[in-house]
Symmetry: C2
């Protein structure tokens, strides 16, 4: 995969955008990514668009065509990809495959979501999921994992809260983050309870948002970097893994086989290990999620995730900063855009363009998503490793 690079990224601030249509938000992110990549619309050979909810909320279909049309791109294959929280990262993996295979020289991934609408209601999981109808909505499922992690490994409420506090501290340094006011552990623990032990500040918020990534072959990137006199700064894609599997082993609530397998496959493909990472974006949909992802990623031994957070090792300035963007918890989580927003952050970090939240000298970064709609069946995991 060393022949694929990210040439440019772009996103809009996540939050509430009542005045903007989904297509407008997506087009704004796409234009920013094209500009960052110094790529003209006519040079994009394949377009991927990821979204989770618009068909359901707005009865919109084939939205990608409209997004690309807005930015002056048409006549090319445009793929509309839906994969819940992993929508954009799945689209990125598909795009990488086409560039790696030489089927296209320049591809773009645009992800967008609009959630602040009256139509949203509770995100349930469709007619076929009995568990959800009976109350096992997402926060409940993750709360069960948190309780079990506490019982098995002595993880504490303070350790859970440490994740939320850290990510908010990071978000304060990110102008694109949705929630930037500092919070304390007391704020987190005294926030309204959603499902015990997860309070509201431990659950990622709804968000409107859009993010985009321009990919290219290394050959194209070298040429464009030369033509731009070094202004364009490509980042190498070392691995882009997408796998599925069960996230719900009722016998073992504190390990996610799919998560661990996805990470292992990505490390193998990239030829790196967790010790080589300088910065990570992971899928902190809930505080307990980030702790479980630490363990799957090999940032600490199983059961040690809570202590890792509490010791500040995953904060900016710590051993391995996780979610310097603020993560899903504070940057916000528009599912169709999240996977691309993570790549925006890792690219900024590896280019040394992350400003006050820069991880000094970052050379290798990883972006991790999990997604899926069903409590009991097959879910998704994506892991992307980038380097400069």
């Amino acid at each position: 995969m060393s022949e694929v690079v990210i040439l440019g990224v772009g996103m809009i601030p996540f939050g509430r955008h009542p005045q903007k249509l989904l297509v407008e938000m997506a087009a704004e992110a796409a234009r920013a990514a094209l500009k960052d990549a110094a790529v003209e619309p006519g040079e994009v050979g394949a377009g991927f668009f990821s979204n989770g909810l618009a068909a359901r909320l707005f009865s919109d279909h084939t939205i990608g065509q409209n997004v690309y049309w807005e930015v002056g791109i048409n006549r090319i294959p445009i793929y509309n990809i839906e994969n819940a929280c992993t929508s954009a990262s799945t689209a990125f993996c598909l795009a990488c495959g086409q560039v790696a295979a030489g089927q296209v020289e320049v591809a773009m991934v645009v992800g967008a979501e609009k959630m602040y609408v009256p139509e949203l209601g509770l995100i349930h999981s469709g007619q076929s999921e009995l568990d959800t109808q009976l109350g096992l909505v997402a926060p409940a499922g993750f709360a069960l994992r948190a309780k079990r992690h506490m019982a098995e490994f002595g993880t504490t409420e303070a350790q859970l809260a440490a994740v939320a506090v850290k990510n908010r501290r990071h978000a304060a340094l990110n102008p694109n983050a949705q929630f930037r006011d500092p919070i304390t552990p007391e704020d987190v623990l005294s926030a309204p309870m959603v499902v015990d032990p997860l309070t509201r500040l431990q659950c990622c918020p709804n968000a409107d948002g859009a993010a985009a990534v321009v990919l290219a072959s290394a050959d194209f990137a070298r040429w464009r970097r030369g033509a731009s006199r070094g202004k364009v700064r490509p980042v190498d894609v070392r691995a882009a893994v997408y796998c599925t599997g069960s996230y719900a082993n009722p016998q073992d609530l504190t390990h996610w086989e799919t998560d661990e397998r996805g990470c292992r496959l990505a490390y193998e493909a990239a030829g790196v290990g967790p010790e080589d990472l300088n910065v990570v974006e992971c899928h902190d949909a809930f505080t307990i999620s980030e702790i479980l992802h630490y363990e799957a990623l090999g940032l600490c031994p199983a059961g040690e995730g809570g202590r890792l957070a509490e010791a500040g090792e995953t904060a900016l300035g710590g051993r391995i900063p996780v979610n310097p963007s603020g993560g899903l918890l504070s940057r916000g989580h528009p599912p169709g855009a999240t996977g691309a927003a993570q790549l925006c952050e890792i690219v900024a970090q590896l280019r040394g363009e992350a400003g006050p939240r820069q991880v000094p000298g970052a050379r290798v970064g990883l972006a991790h998503c999990m997604g899926g709609d069903k409590a009991a069946d097959s879910k998704s995991c994506t892991v992307v490793v980038l380097s400069v």
Copy 2:
């Protein structure tokens, strides 16, 4: 692309399936395709699922994971592709690309749609399409094209009706078709008017349905064919083209540039021309559509499509049979499944397994879809050329 083959196909009869969930219909088609291909679930390396409406109608997301889980396939990448009427054929093009690139040896495409539900209502096109809100729904757009074709080329109502009558005659020979009772030109012309000149029998019906295709590398296919003692009968994929563009040039309602470009690209990739085709499935969403597609495909000169149908040249027994399955008009049109159902038909024809609707000695076949949600912007065209 000569290294990719279709190893197996499967579908369920199109029509009304009130007793079956979407996932059940899809799984039934998938099992049939796996059986036809003599492929075990564990051998499938990538899964594609296509659907247009389920997120909107049932609030279902990441349905592909559930479909593949149902048939015993998980832990692999599963892609949920939405592209209106071209959903399944777009998924097929993506899958072909992965097999052609050697990224996966065996891939599967499953397409399904469930439309006979009270929630359906009128299929409109979302908040962003003003034209549709003002009345330019799909039948109206195609009626304008029909009127213009009549004015420019002298196409008659009888010629339009000939398409519907032919496709119904074909459907009578297809046990998987939704409407199989013969109809006369008088039936067609006296049916309730939808939008002048298109009567109800000139507009494709809603349908529930599912269809699936198993693809493989030629190497895998040779090995499996040997192991099956010749029972497995691969069909070569000569071209799988997906392109987008405008279908709405208000200055020229009787040509579709995107259609013509998609067909030209497919002929170039396959190294064949229209004169080499023995059988065609095309996107006869309306009678006028089939006539316009004849012309884009080069089956006749521009303006001659109506006469081609009336002369019986596109009927079974004619020079180049089109839609031997009954087409969208009579086999039925569940958008998420249609592209895969077309491939089921072409594969059956090329294997000589099409029974009473067999085109004798068919060696080269083409499947064509058009899709897209917007009246004025970017729409989709897919063209697949198969041969034995």
